[in-house]
């Protein structure tokens, strides 16, 4: 759920609410990404100042973790599991189908801004492989046909 019309005051209040926790940087980055869908590079100086870190240190943490992103995602992010259990149950085919169906590769957004596609290495749903996650919902035993249904159901949601 991307929100490009964010205000610096919102970010300030997220940072202020979390900065006194021990090891506050990850909770702060989660807080911002939960709110905006990504961590805008423009927020880095503010975070750095509040935590008494250098901007390079904050940027280094954001870029280290696969989950944090610096660009707005599509309305929904689809994660496809690439790990072994899913491979044993046909995730290669599912992955190819998803890319073709959405017309994008990993780390890209669809042109209409509806979806982002990301790889993930295990969703802990290995007894029901192959798996995908849309937003925070996990789906198991996903065939290419089921993938199309899930996409349609997701788009039909208000």
């Amino acid at each position: 759920m991307a929100n490009n019309q964010w205000k610096l005051e919102e970010i300030s209040s997220i940072v202020a609410g979390l900065k006194d926790k021990p090891g506050a940087l990850l909770p702060i980055l989660h807080g911002i990404q939960d709110h905006l869908g990504y961590v805008p590079p423009e927020t880095v100086p503010l975070i750095a100042r509040e935590l008494n870190l250098s901007r390079a240190e904050v940027h280094g943490v954001i870029s280290f973790y696969h989950y944090f992103r610096e660009t707005p995602p599509g309305k929904e992010t689809i994660h496809i599991c690439r790990a072994e259990s899913c491979q044993a149950m046909g995730s290669d085919e599912l992955e190819a189908h998803a890319k073709q169906r959405l017309g994008i590769d990993y780390h890209e957004n669809t042109a209409d801004g509806e979806f982002s596609l990301e790889p993930v290495y295990c969703l802990g749903n290995c007894a029901c492989s192959p798996s995908i996650m849309v937003g925070t919902e996990v789906y198991g035993r996903v065939t290419p046909e089921r993938f199309d249904e899930i996409i349609a159901e997701t788009q039909a949601k208000p």
Binding site: H30, Y121, C128, E137
Partner: protein, 516 residues
């Protein structure tokens, strides 16, 4: 009021459990049937999920896999009285898959309402903590040492020794950290505990705190587990409200505080020192050891860092005594292992058994053979850093030492099965690719070796200069094994070289040259 159970476990939700629950509620309303819908954890019989249970006078009976469209006919058939139906599975406890297990750590999973403190206590919960509160710290550690429990995260280090080290290291503040960054492919037992019986983990961490003198704990949870995040937070809130967490545990004046922190999609943060860096708000770079985390861990303080299953095993050990737990198992592998069956199997799921059961029993008696009906060609045991085992090794007992003797690992107990359509050279390449994607970058063998490894396997798969490139791959494997800072680079050669050793034909090498 008839109790009806529909799991809230994320795998069950991924197969439509939410819609099934809604359909049952709606149908009951339509028929004026008085039911109490309880959202339990999963019993771990995943091919039968969503599995619905009904509490009858004769005990709980199961139906599954249930789709929303089946609900009306279930009511029609009288499932609320436990009557038969095409999806009826009979008394849940009598299903052989479940009946033949030894569920110690998973004793309550799937049975209770995961976030109900009342339900937890009614099913023997918090008996371990009550006993621990009456013991000296050293006596708590003695019980854990006596149990023979070894770290279930994969490294199998004796838990009692780790706790003893922290107990004996004086400090004003010590920490208990739970490694819930369950990133290994084919593993989901941590998730099942956190979604199905989170209070057992809360209790285990509290016991660990009492044992070593730590008043603060963190659960470092991977962000890929949003449902576990919710259940953990609900359970922690219930424990605080009930006086089982806070500054005055059950009126004893002893304190323990607990908080969940989310990871951010870095596999390497399952490595304990990288996890501690991440908890401190830094890049998850692996630390040099020594100093051990038990001496200088989180924020430089003595820290117990244990896997979810290790900590969740502490309550039963304290409740029933270390010797009770120790009497399960074989050799130096004591107690039980929650085995996770995944990949190409007919009956994937969770099987908690005493150590010593063979891989073949697990794959065929429980797993039911491959889902595709084709022969099982290889299994990977112990996650993405575990070795591939061929059929000729399926009679190996699940035991840390027996696996080590085969140059394999039990790890966190995940087993992923592949049928005969798998290309093992492709899996070897994937092993290197995964390492390259997830390397923290601190040490060269892992950071560079993984990329060079992909390249050389690509050449091998094209048949280029085979002899030389295979020698190069083995040499690279040696370098990564011996020269990496942690298990990510140091164990990536396990899947890669075991694939080459056991399935040379997939690399274009004739089986007769296997010994080379």
């Amino acid at each position: 009021m008839i109790k009806v159970y529909v799991p809230r476990d994320s795998s069950a939700l991924g197969l439509g459990a939410e819609k099934v629950a809604a359909a049952i509620q709606a149908e009951a309303g339509r028929r004026g049937a008085r039911i109490e819908l309880i959202r339990n954890g999963s019993r771990g019989l995943y091919w039968l999920e969503p599995m619905v249970e009904v509490a009858t006078a004769a005990g709980r009976v199961a139906y599954g896999p249930v789709r929303p469209g089946d609900v009306a006919s279930l009511f029609e058939a009288g499932f609320l009285e436990g009557k038969t139906h095409a999806l009826a599975l009979g008394p849940t406890g009598e299903i052989p898959y479940l009946k033949n297990q030894e569920r110690l750590t998973f004793a309550r999973v799937g049975i209770t309402d995961p976030v109900s403190l009342e339900d937890y206590v009614a099913h023997d919960g918090y008996r371990g903590l009550r006993r621990a509160l009456s013991l000296e710290p050293s006596a708590i550690v003695d019980e854990v040492t006596e149990s023979g429990l070894r770290g279930r995260g994969g490294a199998a280090f004796p838990t009692g020794i780790k706790w003893r080290t922290v107990l004996n290291t004086p400090a004003d503040q010590k920490y208990i950290v739970c490694n819930a960054d369950e990133g290994d492919s084919g593993t989901f037992s941590d998730r099942m505990i956190m979604e199905g019986d989170p209070l057992v983990l809360v209790e285990g961490m509290t016991i660990a705190g009492l044992a070593v003198g730590a008043t603060r704990g963190y659960i470092y949870l991977r962000c890929e587990y949003p449902h576990a995040h919710v259940t953990l937070n609900e359970a922690i809130a219930a424990a605080y409200a009930g006086g089982y967490l806070g500054d005055d545990l059950l009126g004893t004046g002893k304190a323990f505080h607990l908080e969940v922190r989310l990871g951010a999609g870095a596999y390497v943060c399952g490595e304990e020192t990288s996890l501690l860096e991440s908890l401190e708000g830094k890049r998850g770079l692996v630390r040099f050891k020594p100093p051990l985390p038990a001496i200088q861990g989180l924020f430089g303080q003595p820290t117990v860092i244990n896997n979810v299953i290790s900590l969740a095993s502490a309550p039963i050990i304290l409740d029933k005594g270390g010797s009770y737990y120790r009497d399960f198992g074989m050799g130096r592998s004591r107690g039980t292992l929650p085995i996770q069956l995944a990949g190409n199997l007919k009956q994937p799921g969770l099987v908690e058994k005493a150590f010593g059961v063979t891989l073949r029993e697990i794959l065929y008696d429980y797993g039911g053979g491959s889902a595709s009906g084709r022969p099982i060609k290889a299994v990977q045991v112990g996650g993405p850093l575990g070795a591939y085992l061929p059929e000729s090794q399926f009679d190996t007992p699940l035991d840390y030492e027996a696996f080590a003797a085969l140059w394999a690992v039990l790890g966190h107990g995940g087993i992923v099965a592949f049928d005969d359509t798998v290309d093992m050279a492709k899996m070897a390449r994937y092993g290197m690719e995964f390492c390259a994607v997830e390397s923290c970058g601190k040490c060269t063998p892992c950071r560079i070796g993984s990329t060079r490894g992909m390249e050389v396997i690509d050449k091998i798969r094209l048949g280029e200069d085979l002899e030389r490139n295979i020698a190069l791959l083995r040499d690279l494997g040696e370098t990564m094994l011996a020269g990496s800072l942690c298990a990510l680079g140091g164990m990536t050669p396990y899947p890669v070289l075991s694939a080459l050793n056991h399935f040379p034909e997939d690399f274009g090498v004739a089986a007769s040259e296997k010994a080379a």
